[in-house]
Symmetry: C2
DNA sequence: TATTATATTATGTATGCACATATTATAATT
DNA sequence: AATTATAATATGTGCATACATAATATAATA
C-alpha cells in the first residue's frame, strides 16, 4: 500500500467531509485540484471519489463537479441469517428438529403469492431451531419442488433446509418483511412462550430469476433483537 | 460508454457466476486470461472483479486467485427512515405532535449507555407521528444538548426532531436494534392500540465521533411492516 | 525430515495519456 | 428576446506500463 493509495485518499477526503470542512451540499474541489494537493494522479482521486459516491457521501455530475450529499443516507445492513450461525455466535449449542414435513397443495393465497400453478404441490415444513436445547426460532417453510427437486433427497435431518438451500441454490433474489406479531397458540407452543407474547417475525421469499424457490416465516423467541450498525 | 466498460464486463461476469457456469467456491480464470478473452486491458477486468468482490460475489486473494464466494451473502438494506417520508410514501398526510418536551436528568441506565456525565441534563421528548390524523408511530427521544445546543432554538413544531437532526448533524454513526414488544399502557394509549398488542420497536442511537447525539425509541402502530429487497 | 531461503504468480495499485460524455456557459443566429 | 449552435469543462473510462504485495511452490540448507 503506497502512501497515496486511493484508500488513504478516500479516508482523508471522508474526514474532510465528515468534519464539516465542506458543508452539506457544498461543491468540493475538482479532481485536478485535489490531485495537485495530494501530489497524485487524477485517476487516483477519481477512484477515491467514485467510492465515496458509491457510499452515498458525495454526488458527482459531469461538468457539475462533486458535491457533498445534501442528506447522506446511512444504511443498516442485514445478512440473510443462517439460524445455526446466529445461535453459535451467542455461544450456544445449535440443534434443529423437523416437526413436520409433507408435500401438499398450498393455500390459494400462498399459491398466488408464489405464482405456483393450482395443481402443483409444494413441500411444507415446520422446523424448530434450538439453542442449548431451548427453542430459539420456529420456522414454517414452503419449498417449490419443481424448482429444487433435489431437496427431496437432501439429508434434512443433518443440515437445516435453510442452510441446504443457501448452499445449493445461491444467488437468488428475494424480499424480507420484518414485523411484530402476537404469538398464537401454535407459535407459543413451539417456542415454549405464552399466547399473546410479542414475537419478532421475519418473512422471507426468495426467487431464482422468475422462479419461486422458497418462502419462510421465522418466529423468534421472546426478547429476540435484531442488531445492526449504521 | 464503450463496449468494454468495466460495467459491462462486471455484468457479464456476474451472469456467468449466477448461471452456475462457475460453481460455488470454484476458482475462476485469472485477470490476464479474462482480459484476453474479452479483449481488454487487465485493469478493466481488475476493476470489474473488485466491484464483484465488494458486492460479496467473489473472494479474491493475491496469488490465490479469484473464486466464487462459497456462500454469497445477500444484504438487506434499510435507510434511516424519516417518519414523515414513510408516511407520505404510503400516500397519507403527515403531521406530528409533541406530547412532552423537557430538560431533565436521564436515568442511570440511560446515562451510562450514552456516556453522559452524571450532573448533565438532556432533552427528553415524546412525539406522536400521525398518518391521516391516526397515530403511526410513537417516539421517545433523548437528545444531548451539549452536543447540539442549537436544538433549543429549532422550530420543532414545524420540523420533527428526527428530520431536524438528520439535516443538521449529518454523518453520524450509530446502531439500530429491531425488536417486538408488547404494548404497555403508555404505548398503547399513544398509538390508540390495546395493551398487549405486538408492537414493532426500533431503537436507534447515533453518535458524532465519540460524542452521543441522540437516542430514540420508535414504537410503530399495529401491523407495521418493515420491507426490504435482498 | 524439518526448516529456511528463493522464485513464482495473481492480484493490488499508481501513473500518464487519450478520448468519451454529459452538462453548463457562451456566442451566434433567428 | 428567444432559440440554436458552439465551446469549455469536470467527470468517466480504457489502456499500457511499472512496480508492490501477499501467498504459494520450489529449491537449498541444516
Amino acid at each position: 500500500m503506497t502512501a497515496n493509495s486511493h484508500h488513504n485518499i478516500r479516508q482523508v477526503l471522508r474526514e474532510r467531509i465528515e468534519s464539516g470542512e465542506w458543508a452539506l451540499g457544498a461543491l468540493i474541489p475538482g479532481e485536478l485540484a485535489l490531485a495537485v494537493e495530494y501530489r497524485c494522479a487524477r485517476t487516483t482521486i477519481n477512484r477515491a471519489l467514485q467510492t465515496l459516491a458509491d457510499e452515498g457521501l458525495v454526488v458527482r455530475k459531469r461538468k457539475g463537479g462533486t458535491r457533498v450529499c445534501q442528506m447522506p443516507v446511512r444504511h443498516a445492513k442485514f445478512e440473510i441469517p443462517i439460524v445455526r450461525e446466529q445461535v453459535e455466535v451467542i455461544g450456544s449449542k445449535y440443534r434443529h428438529q423437523i416437526m413436520s414435513q409433507q408435500k401438499k397443495t398450498p393455500t390459494a393465497s400462498v399459491r398466488t403469492r408464489l405464482r405456483i400453478p393450482d395443481a402443483k404441490k409444494a413441500l411444507f415444513m415446520e422446523t424448530i431451531h434450538l439453542a442449548d436445547e431451548r427453542p430459539y426460532a420456529y420456522e414454517e417453510r414452503w419449498v417449490n419442488i419443481q424448482a429444487v427437486p433435489k431437496i427431496m433427497d437432501a439429508p434434512l435431518d443433518q443440515i437445516s433446509v435453510n442452510e441446504w438451500l443457501v448452499k445449493t441454490v445461491p444467488f437468488s433474489s428475494g424480499d424480507v418483511v420484518f414485523s411484530a406479531v402476537n404469538a398464537d397458540k401454535r407459535v407459543a407452543g413451539a417456542l415454549e412462550s405464552k399466547v399473546g407474547n410479542a414475537i419478532f417475525l421475519v418473512d422471507r421469499t426468495t426467487w431464482l430469476g422468475e422462479e419461486f424457490i422458497t418462502t419462510i416465516k421465522l418466529y423468534y423467541r421472546d426478547g429476540y433483537q435484531l442488531y445492526s450498525q449504521l
